[in-house]
Subunit: 286 residues, 2 copies
């Protein structure tokens, strides 16, 4: 398979569907809807819905029924970015090469656009089933993504050790990538054993994803990243590169990747797409 073609095809489908289903600009409150669309349509790899759909393919989920939950993961992700960028959190001005929501609109609109995307993500999941709502609420709530963000903010004042760094990113990043994979698997009614294996796979590639992110932040340039390179260091964030060094961080990402691949080999069915996606995550340059 050609992963680049696959990802481009999926990305196009995802963005066409987002454009179709996000609240339109003619209906009030237009400024809110404008802000929601601005941040969601700003681009990105669409990795979370792509992972959900690829996992769905593996376990024979109906893609037409999975697309809306997959999109829910993307707009949930967008909400976390909008709120994380706020002045009271990371205070970022640039995201994907564009002004962040509170810069483009205003702070109140950014908070409310985030709230609205968060709420809409559950509406879209509930169209499929209450079980998918539970999955995202648990992965994305006080014991998941938000716990990670709280620890991340605290870490700006007290530099974290290796263990705390894992706690932050297992929650802040890996939880949602793992959830994307679980949602695909649950939509296809995967047996418990498969679900467990895919969950471990998701956690490992989730953490690898973050390690690579930290490596890119310290080595790539701003144009390639679409956000200021070296911004972690500027904000006083402790990264995997700080704790393990560039080579050590790369080794750790590779170890995660290899463990993820070993887990995936235990799963029945055609795992080619997930293998390629895992490889992409650990090889990407942006």
């Amino acid at each position: 398979m050609n992963l680049t073609d696959y990802m481009q095809r999926q990305k196009a489908w995802i963005e066409r569907s987002l454009n179709e289903w996000l609240p339109d600009l003619q209906t009030p409150p237009t400024r809110l809807h404008d802000a929601m669309r601005y941040s969601v349509m700003a681009g990105g790899k669409r990795l979370r819905p792509i992972l959900a759909l690829a996992t769905g393919e593996l376990v024979d989920a109906d893609p037409e029924k999975l697309i809306k939950p997959a999109l829910a993961l993307e707009i949930f992700h967008t909400y976390t970015l909008i709120h994380d960028d706020l002045p009271c959190m990371d205070d970022d001005d640039l995201r994907r090469g564009l002004p962040t929501a509170h810069k483009k609109f205003d702070e109140a609109t950014a908070v409310l656009a985030g709230d609205a995307l968060l709420t809409l993500s559950f509406e879209w999941l509930a169209e499929h089933s209450g079980q998918l709502v539970t999955e995202l609420a648990m992965a994305g709530g006080h014991a998941g993504v938000i716990a990670g963000q709280v620890a991340d903010l605290a870490a700006e004042k007290n530099p974290p050790d290796a263990q705390m760094l894992d706690y932050i990113h297992l929650n802040k990043t890996a939880a949602l990538l793992r959830c994307s994979i679980r949602i695909g698997a649950i939509a296809g009614k995967a047996p418990q054993e498969t679900l467990n294996a895919l969950s471990s796979f998701g956690t490992d590639i989730g953490l690898a994803f973050q390690i690579i992110d930290d490596i890119l932040d310290s080595t790539a340039d701003t144009d390639t990243l679409g956000k200021p390179a070296g911004s972690d260091q500027e904000q006083g964030k402790t990264t995997y590169v700080d704790v393990y060094g560039i080579d050590g961080a790369r080794e750790r990402a590779t170890a995660m990747y290899q463990r993820a691949m070993a887990t995936l080999r235990e799963v029945d069915g055609d795992t080619t797409t997930l293998e390629h996606l895992a490889q992409f995550i650990c090889d990407r340059d942006h």
Copy 2:
């Protein structure tokens, strides 16, 4: 029936249950959990869960299954208060006689505590069914509560006319009260006709609730309200008292109340509790 006793009994049950199910203070992130509990346990009438449970009684819903969705309405309401009080929105320092969340903790913690309560509300609803998630997501999202908040913020710059004032409060306040009643009705599998009647009832008492709120803000004192009296005027908010005068606003609230009661008389079953609650909403002094 004695409504005061009934409300005190329900409030005690609701607060005991909230205390039991909110994330505990021993589990990290403790500061986040502390902030969530601080705002939820700060008091209040618990009107939304009380309405849901009272409606459930009317249509024979199992109260043990309805309690968690009822609590979801309360923590959703708390999330809206926390975010509305933020400096970028209404910039309020006092709520229910206590410092607001961003004053007691900090702004980032307040945003995240709101996000966490919003997310947890959907987790609690999904324990019952996906349908209840859909109800709250639609009432509370971009086309409901958030639309009301957006219009309310815009109204600080451009004073609203009577029609816009209704739009704001139909969305910002009435939508969630109506949703509370619908959730009780749906949990009891009420027939469509009953659901429609109860929805209209909810909208009318919801708007009456806001009109009374505006009247109290302009007439009661700070101690009785638990928030600064006259704060609407100070913030340049246009109220029902501004548009209709005190007597006119009272008349409008009474008309809403009477229409709500007329609608309720069409509903089969013992509507006594809902009648008393509607009366309380239109007669209250705080």
